[in-house]
Assembly symmetry: D4
């Protein structure tokens, strides 16, 4: 079975984006094998969707080298780059329940050396919460907006802010929220122009998209 565990350490160099270990479909044994392999190369790794049970099942010395965040279910294994960039990316979440995806984005950026600002609980059902902070938000060239249920935050923000707006629908809600499908569709169908969207709960992907944009700037 170990022959099935492959990890492409060369990829990060080629694509220039942080490669992560997506743990949702892997057993603790498979994750441990990847960490062991990274350890032998002195490579640092970001782990996503690492739940408490799998983290607990890692061998002791690997676990000790792993900084795990229960809210975002992410972990840093081995060396983490120093902060090389700050003030370019804000992560804005509608409510407390959206925090896991927001924090996943924040941690992914941090693992790539980018420090993001996080603003939580500005959902538009209480519009004053967003209006109180809109000037602060406008200072960032890239904003990641995280919202579930009706995802109305994305549309309102899209009309108030003219920079790059990466939208992350979350699976927060029940019934007609359809496990995030409604938030996803509402963001896609938003009448605010120029929003771009990631998969449901995909804070990691939104962070990668932001990193692509920062790269864009470098290229010029």
């Amino acid at each position: 079975m170990s022959g099935d565990v492959v990890f492409d350490f060369a990829r990060a160099e080629r694509i220039g984006l942080s490669e992560a270990v997506f743990c949702a479909g892997k057993t603790p044994q498979q994750i441990a094998a990847i960490l062991q392999s990274a350890s032998e190369r002195d490579a640092g790794l970001l782990l996503t969707r690492l739940d408490a049970e799998k983290f607990a099942a890692l061998p002791g010395e690997l676990k000790a080298a792993t900084e795990w965040c229960p809210l975002s279910q992410t972990a840093f294994f081995g060396p983490v780059p120093p902060v090389s960039s700050a003030g370019t990316i804000a992560i804005v979440a509608a409510g407390t329940s959206d925090a896991p995806a927001a924090r996943e984005a924040e941690r992914t950026l941090r693992h790539a050396g980018v420090e993001a600002s996080v603003i939580i609980d500005v959902g538009v059902a209480g519009l004053w919460r967003l209006m109180d902070r809109i000037e602060e938000i406008r200072r960032f060239p890239v904003v990641i907006a995280v919202a579930g249920m009706d995802a109305a935050l994305a549309s309102v923000l899209g009309g108030l802010y003219s920079g790059s707006l990466i939208c992350v629908p979350t699976s927060v809600g029940y019934g007609a929220a359809e496990e995030g499908r409604t938030a996803l569709n509402a963001m896609l169908a938003s009448c605010a122009p120029g929003l771009v969207i990631t998969n449901i709960d995909n804070g990691y992907g939104a962070a990668c998209a932001a990193l692509r944009m920062l790269g864009v700037m470098k290229l010029r």
Copy 2:
């Protein structure tokens, strides 16, 4: 075939709400038969979903007695009650494309003697448009909010306005708008508390719900 055409004139009295002829599934012949029967009783009728082609196909004298509105595809046949109530209901629509459902609601209310105020193009992608009129909207005890696509207007309004808020999703949009299903789900999953929703494009139903609420007041 004419034996299949039945219309329950007694119903309006029993339920106390305006009975309407829903024309979408009926042939011009069937509609004409109902109008003829109403004409013999001197009864007035509201017709909904009456498109241009069916209206044109009505016999001349029936057509002459019918006041048809192409935008809302509604018609008044025969006597229309005088205005007996005004200032209680506002109809608020996100954009020009939502006007047909908004006007269907307005005309249904008018046929029941209630004059509603209509405010169009206050979609939240341009938030200032709504904020400019929010004080005016707050004066009405009942508001019908009409919006398609992401339907974010409903959530924002639900946080700014404390009266009864009847939401009508519309089929405006394409792709992920899913012919109104996204607007419907977003309204149902809204984090603004206490919104109530009707079927997609159902301006008639929203007007009837508002009439039920006015009736509520009478009962006390």
Copy 3:
């Protein structure tokens, strides 16, 4: 992580509706933090979707100040307002399995000082059960109808009762009931005019809609 826990105590005053803590997406730690914060302000709170496991995990003194109802999975924390209104709202449920949503609506209203009447097991597959109580139901200006499966209760009631009818579809049923989607769609597509609908199992939302209607009356 505690920085992600925010609760908007000012909101209840602004919107004029009972703010509730939706516990489904929150950890016991997050819920406890909110309760602690409310305790410090002497504020009362309604908690919804609080399951037995989370309730049991609350710290002792917070749990002691919490009156929990296992059927509706709601709780009252701290002071509850006295009954200020009664006789205006009836909650009508099709069957025993619909009781959780019906009781969630009742408890939400009670937390806002409104005493509702609850009538359970009047599903229309046994029509006599509804007919036996229809006169009693007609005395209320606002009725909340709770039903799952085919939700036929809503349509029948919509034809027999002329007041405001707020419909709550429930996730009761299996297979083609599609976890409440069929009841939701049947209520939305009902041929009884003027029904308004909330999200699936959303007794809280229906109660808030009823409170908006009572507010309507006050405004006049």
Copy 4:
């Protein structure tokens, strides 16, 4: 292309049910070829889903031998058996818009020599219409119930009538009616026990099911 047109005249004998030509997916040329072949065998045929355009495109002498009903879009070609049975089957439809499916069932039964009784416009949003005729309906051992939108008629009838109840959902309605899917699901999820369901708008299938039941009786 004519090699692709096959019709199994032997089938009616084998299965003992009326074989019909389903015209929806066939060209006028293909339909004409089948009629010609039937004509040569002196066989009678029932045609379903034959729209006005296709009927008009049939060759003159074949058209002359065809008795076409525009409402149900069915036709009788050639000899029709005399009425051999009556008083066993009632077809009950919720509204005028459901008449096409109801008439398709009636015509299918008639082509098999069974005369059914048709009762239209007893939808439960006006419950008195059904109650006025329930005693008449109870006299039939088999009832075909035809309804669209919320299909609440099926559940109410299922609680008032103890014979065989074959339910036909129709595509009447819009938005959340989902082209008949909601009526179909509501009938399947009905809490009235022992309802059986056919495909959407499938009056032909309901009639065949009724014929199977009549055959059941013969077998004993």
Copy 5:
């Protein structure tokens, strides 16, 4: 909470069909309350969807009076009528995995005094299994066909058998089987004429439909 537990013992008499306690949405406490109430009236009850955990949680003396079948998750509480009819109904299932729904139908019929014959594992992927027993099946005026996945058994049987064919789709399968929706749709869309369908896994409903048909015969 006990005020929410209602059971309509009068219903069985009115509708003439076996009333059952659907346990899926009920707590052991609620089920026990209904059994207690039945016990006081010396009434027998059929329980459906009673899983092992709930059965184990019933109070000892009630459990002792309950004959529970783990495969079909049904139970007989109290007196069971003697067999009054046999040889009229066959239950035919495609595979071993379809046995629970088939046995639910069998037990429902048995509780109403009707002894059915059960034939399992005649799925059409091995056509000879069905052909070996088709003559036996043809002797029954009513057949209940139970199948999941592609449900092809229903179509093949519908072409070989001319009596009443009640089809029960099951949730057997994975992926494109879509938890029974594919079997349901395939049965509804079958080209074999006159099949009638129940909800997914609804063996109870199919049995009730068969009882309605037997009643039909009595009425004549």
Copy 6:
């Protein structure tokens, strides 16, 4: 706009399968440009989904060089290879309405020099039709099975025939047939082992898959 019309004549050589012009999303002008370009290279082309209107709109000399089949909506432009293989592939269709997809497969194979045998109207609702021809079918190493509605033909054939079985679901049917989705899912969920499936109505794809299989043999 003509810069957007590109056709990859080199592809057929690279992939070794017949490249076709899929006309559904193209204007007559775009199709004509491709034909003109093929004409200049003396290349033959297969056109699929070419409807009557587009065929009629082609310029005269291009139309003259095009052999069009109205049933399958395919056309041969320019030289067609001689028949180089026969007796290896049978195309089996459930009914007359499935003929267009069956003929699309036949014509695609013919354009690649392979003559297939076509057997239409062996749907399993009349099982004897299939049984009469099963020995003939078994002689072919590859069978393409074409069926809509419930697609039960695929499962039955899969149990009677042990060669390669490529299944093409068709959009034949209405309501619960869901425009071919039910046939597709039923084929995917079939309990007959080893069926492989193409897109709905994709006779062209099934033919290409068969050509891949014939190539397989060549490779050995």
Copy 7:
């Protein structure tokens, strides 16, 4: 009805993005009213989803001032800004059928003064087509990838190119392509990290997102 036609000329200034007239839900009269109003202000406008029929129905002098592109169904009304930026954005489309969305993006950018490069027919089923041009594509900091059906182009490009990648799913395809939903979902679920997605066929939205990114650069 003209009171329902509103156009927010102030919006472009506020949000800093090109405001466009979405013509799909508007009548020619409504479009003409907006153009007239723009004409009076000497404002230029971009029109999207303007089909041939509506363009033809515009009054003569307005039509004369409108430069219409039939492929992309866009039009420039009045003054168009000069090209102010080039070489920053490439639009890459999988096939000829994706050209309409690609051209809508190109025209939207052009109307904002940005000249994009368009590369069509590099779908990955013929991988060499993409590989031939990948170096050219890598020179652009922002790429808009347009693809329908399986949308595999997006994933392959996402692994070969490290700049900002905005993905536009198109409705090209049939059956399981589900009118663009499959391409949308495949892009959202891509394992290539950091892709961002717009609504189906939304070339306009992708162009606006690219403009937001260019604005980002300006802000620094």
Copy 8:
């Protein structure tokens, strides 16, 4: 209950394909009964979807005769045929998470005496991984491609490889991956011609299809 456990040992001979015990819907008791019966006939069996819990629950001597693979959840009971064929089938999987379905295919082939080659982690988001091995893959006449999420591997491979390509979508991914439905649809809608598809996660079915193809060769 044991009467419901049937296993058709004759089938393998008739259909010429390996019959397997699909354990997902069966209890350990039912599985044990089948194994016991196989043991008495000295028959070997392949078991699929046998999870750790069920395997552990088998009686000791049956478990001892069972070679279980935890990754693929398959088991070999009793005698396994020797390898009779090799070098004809490659199984190519996009990533580590797709290994279970890939290994299910490999084990199914092995149980039929066919040794397949397995190549894992060649997903196209890192195209070089596939290109490094494409020449090796091209040597096999039949390839089984296993991929989840966007399933882009199938389309790219379909353009690079001309043999038989059997595609297995997997349920790997979240959100818009829709439990494998997106991979399934993307494979069905692929623009690479001649792909054939199995059910989601159906490695067993893909192996059976490959065996049918090998049989094809034998027949000639």
